[in-house]
Each structure stands twice: as structure tokens, then as C-alpha cells.
Amino acid sequence: MTMTPSSTSTTSIRTSGSRLGYRFNLVGVIGFTIIIAWALVAVFAPLIIPYPVGEIVDLDYFGPMSRDFWLGSDYLGRDMLSRILMGARYTVGISLAAVTIACFSGVVLGMIAAVAGGWLDTVVSRFLDALNSIPSKLFGLVVVAAVGSSIPVLILTLSVIYIPGAYRFARALAVNINAMDFITVARIRGESTWYLIRSEILPNIVGPVLADLGLRFVFIVLLLSGLSFLGLGVQPPYADWGALVRENIGGLPFGAPAVMFPSLAIASLTISVNLLIDNLPQKIRDRSE
């Protein structure tokens, strides 16, 4: 799926349809591998955890790394490795759901605004820009304070926070495409707005939009972890990686592994996504920035 060196010169037959035609470099492959690994962990976590997540298995609290407990134990003596593996479900799952909603709504709105233009464009842009000028962490804080913190609320809040960014990005791309001749031709043919969006604009912006989705995923993971760290995200007994750091912050003065490893898990995920996107082939990542 990743490296196919043979296809660089084959331009004639395998054109736009073939995903295999892209070349990734080594750093990109490493990033991609780590992302896939975390995704698999999130799916199969209950099968691979060595100990049940909620069970106190170590007599010592904030235990060091050992043969029995690879990543030490937490503030109650629960196995850290199991908790981190299970935490992947919440961090990856919630972020993925939120980023999907955010990018889907943002991109659709952006394309509609670009194609329709006029007052609709102005109103939507102005409103979303205003939303965008609330600092993201603050927005999360206020909403969670208002309606409490359940997982559906978290997903919706995170996606609402990142809709304006996705909208802005997609709109800027779509406006450029919208000025091209084939759009004018399609308009003269009498095609509907929906057709223009789906068949003329979307195929031309899908690469950059996917790259943008990756970046937004990183932001959402960071914001979710931050909220959980403040105690406003995923609530006990469940714990995502941010909540794991919060639980075990008491072990920080002793340098307990329970504090560092959930943070490292977050870092490995977000840095991998960034590496993958930075090393995407120019063909996909043809961004204006």
C-alpha cells in the first residue's frame, strides 16, 4: 500500500484513479505505520490488554517499569499498559468522530458558500469567523461547564470548534476552483449547485482537504487531551490519555512512569500524523500555503 517505485513513469494508463501511484518517503511511512498501529490498538484493545483495566493488580502504587508491569502501575496500583491501550479507544475514537463531523460540515458549507456566493457566503463566513475568534480551549471549557461532559457532548463540541477552520480552508480552495472555465461551462449547461459541488469542485479539492483533515485531527487530539487533563473531558471510570495524566499527576515529583507514558502516547500519535502529512506526495498535498 505504501511504496511502489515502479509507477513513477506510468502516466498513460494509471492516472487519477490509482492510489498506488503515489510515492511515500521513509519518514512518511514510519508516521503512517504508527498511526495504523494505534488504530489497530484502539479496535482490538480488549483482546490485547494484559490485565483488566479497572483491577488493582500491583500492591505498590506508582510502581516502576518491571517485567510484570511493562509501563509501571498507576496511583491505585492498576496496570498502566492496559490503561493506555484502552485509553487509545477514547482518544482516537472521539477525535476521529469529531474530525469527521467537523471536516464534513465545514467542507460542505465551504463549497456551498463558494458556489452560491452573495449574502449567504457573507453571513456564513462572518458567523463562523466570529466562532473562530473564541479560543478553542475556552470554548470547550464554557460548553462543558454548561452541559456537562458526556462523550457525545465532547464529540459535538470538538467538531463545532473546528468547523470554522475546515470551512475557511475549503472555501478558499473552492473559490479558486469556482473561478475556472469548466465551472462556468457547467453553470451554462444549467447544472444544479449540488452537481457543481459534488462533481466539479469536490474532486479538485479532495487532496488538500484530506491533508487538512489530518492536521485538524492533531488539533482535536490535543484539545481533547487538554480538556481531559483539566478534568472536563472523558470522565471516570473511563479514561483517555489526557485523563490518565491527570489521574497520575501526583506521581510527577517521583518521576513515575505513569505520568510520562500517556503523554508519550499522545505525542507519538500527533507527531506521526504531522510527519505523514508533511511527507505526503506533492500531488496530494498541493496546498496553497
Binding site: 469567523d129 466570529a130 475568534s133 479560543p135 480551549k137 475556552l138 499527576i249 507527531i271
Partner: protein, 316 residues
């Protein structure tokens, strides 16, 4: 300054005002979504229905939300931030001292991060593609991609646990000497400086590289100007606008950063006050703190845009 610049500036300011109105609307209604009746929560379970009714009237809770919103906005403009539900003190008094603390933290951070970030960003752009540039780029991507609390916990691990230079998370409440002061500020400032600088380095580097790619810089190189002369005489003056813009934008990162940093280090600032207010559900306090943060953010982004407009030589 000609008419075109003036109209651009004015329209940008108008947008800022409109944004502020929408934002205050959003903040007010988000906080009034709180489930439960505020009056009965305040009076506790033993309250009689008459007492609850009385308090509702006194707090204007029986009015439609839009009136309460207008009342709140008018109060804000007049400097009346309302009364805290939790301890019945005027919100303005609660916030005043904390606000100064947060400003101090932000000021000290800016003092350190701006020179560091500009130096690193500009030199990295000058030596683009070199090993130095790559190290700087990788480090900034690394810092940007990790959550703020990880920078904070790493700083504690390095400076307090292994090097034992600074106390871990405990803070002396009374400051008696200069060393105490340094100890209080060191860790939060280190954490924030890392985050802010990383953003700033990235944006500065991009701005300078963009200028270095212009034809007139290439011309300077072709006519035989030395590399430093090319950068400092020809490129930098023109990159100044984008760089100052980048500085203002990255400083807005401080607003998100302080929320985490003040919580983790127990620093008595506005953000800590707000996080505490969220747990006690102290509405007027949350609203006021949220407005302060939004105002700060808007101020920084608007300044960034205004600088970008004013520094554009094509508009002069």
C-alpha cells in the same frame, strides 16, 4: 496614510466589534444552558418555594433570556461584572488581582519568547536546508504536536526531579525574596515560552523564507551583495510586517496555554479562577473570565491584521 488604508482599517475594526457582539452572545447563551435552576441551587434543598421565587425575581431570572443578555451587556460596558454566586463578592474584585497576575505571567513569557523565537526563526530561514534549520524545524514541530501539559510535566521532570533546581508543583504563597519570585515564575514561564516560541519560530521562518524567494532578493544576490547584506538590507525590512503579524498571532497561543499552565502549577491567575468557577458552576464569574479571554484573543488577532494592512507597502 491614504483613504484606502483608512477604510481597510476601519472595516477591520468594525468586523472586530461585530465579532465581539456575536462572541458575547455565544458566551452568554452557552452559560445559560446550564441545567438546573440557579436560584434553587443557590438556596439549597431546604429552601421554601417562596424564597426560591423571591430570589429568582431579585436575580431577574424570571425574565426572558434576551433581556438578561441585554442587562448583562449593559453592565459589562459600565464595568459592572455582576456578583459571584459562590461567595457573593463582586466579580470585578475577584478578577482584578488575578488579572494582573496573568498579565505578569504573559508579559514575562513574551519578554523571553519574542527575542528567542525571532533569532531562531530568522537564522533558520537564512540557513534554510542546513542541519541547523532541520533541527530547529523538527524541534518546533515536536513542541507544537504535543499537549501543553506534556511540556509542563517534562519541565518538572527535568528541572525539579532530575536536576533538582526548582520545586516540583508546590508553591510558596508568600513571596519574601527575589529567589522566591524566580521560583514561582520559572516553571510556568519555561513551559509557556516553549509553546509560544515554537509557534513563533515556525511563522517567522515561513515569513522570512517567503521574502527570500522574491525576485528583488535574488537580484540583490546576483548583483553581488553578501549573504548577510542580502538578508538584513533587502529581505528583512520587507518581512517586518509578516513577522510582527506572526508575533501577535503566536502570542494569542498564550491564552490557551495559560489555562493549562495556571492549573498545573496552581498559579493564581484568571485562567485558574475560571477553571475553578467551572467546577463550582459560578455563572457570572465564568462569563466574565470568558469575555476577558475572548477580548484578549480578539485584540491580538485584530492587531495582527491591522499590522499586516499597515505594513503592506502596496497600500501606502
Amino acid at each position: 496614510m491614504n483613504n484606502r488604508v483608512l477604510s481597510l482599517v476601519l472595516s477591520r475594526l468594525l468586523i472586530a466589534v461585530i465579532t465581539l457582539v456575536i462572541v458575547s452572545f455565544a458566551v452568554f447563551f452557552a452559560t445559560t444552558l446550564l441545567p438546573g435552576d440557579t436560584a434553587s441551587i443557590l438556596l439549597g434543598q431546604a429552601a421554601t418555594p417562596e424564597a426560591v421565587e423571591g430570589l429568582r425575581k431579585a436575580m431577574h431570572l424570571d425574565e426572558p433570556a434576551i433581556f438578561r443578555f441585554l442587562r448583562w451587556i449593559v453592565g459589562l460596558v459600565q464595568g459592572d461584572l455582576g456578583t459571584s454566586y459562590a461567595n457573593e463578592m463582586p466579580v470585578a474584585d475577584l478578577i482584578a488581582g488575578r488579572f494582573v497576575n496573568t498579565l505578569k505571567l504573559a508579559g514575562v513569557t513574551a519578554l523571553f519568547s519574542v527575542p528567542i523565537a525571532l533569532t531562531l526563526g530568522i537564522t533558520a530561514a537564512m540557513l534554510r536546508g542546513s542541519l541547523y534549520d532541520r533541527i530547529v524545524t523538527v524541534l518546533t514541530i515536536g513542541v507544537i504536536s504535543v499537549p501543553e501539559f506534556m511540556i509542563a510535566t517534562s519541565a518538572v521532570l527535568v528541572f525539579a526531579v532530575y536536576l533538582k533546581w526548582l520545586p516540583a508543583l508546590s508553591f510558596a504563597n508568600e513571596v519574601t525574596s527575589l529567589s522566591d519570585l524566580l521560583r514561582i515564575y520559572a516553571m510556568p514561564v519555561i513551559t509557556l515560552t516553549f509553546g509560544v516560541s515554537a509557534q513563533m519560530i515556525r511563522m517567522t521562518r515561513a515569513a522570512v523564507i517567503e521574502t527570500l524567494n522574491t525576485p528583488y532578493v535574488e537580484m540583490a544576490l546576483l548583483k553581488g551583495a553578501s549573504r548577510p547584506r542580502m538578508v538584513f538590507r533587502h529581505a528583512l525590512p520587507n518581512a517586518l510586517g509578516p513577522i510582527v503579524n506572526a508575533v501577535a498571532l503566536s502570542l494569542s497561543y498564550l491564552l490557551g496555554g495559560v489555562i493549562i499552565v495556571e492549573t498545573i502549577f496552581n498559579y493564581p491567575g484568571v485562567a485558574k479562577l475560571m477553571v475553578d468557577a467551572v467546577s463550582t458552576r459560578d455563572l457570572p464569574l465564568i462569563q466574565s473570565c470568558a469575555m476577558i479571554f475572548c477580548l484578549g484573543y480578539l485584540l491580538l488577532t485584530t492587531t495582527a491584521d491591522l499590522i499586516a494592512i499597515l505594513s503592506n507597502p502596496r497600500l501606502r
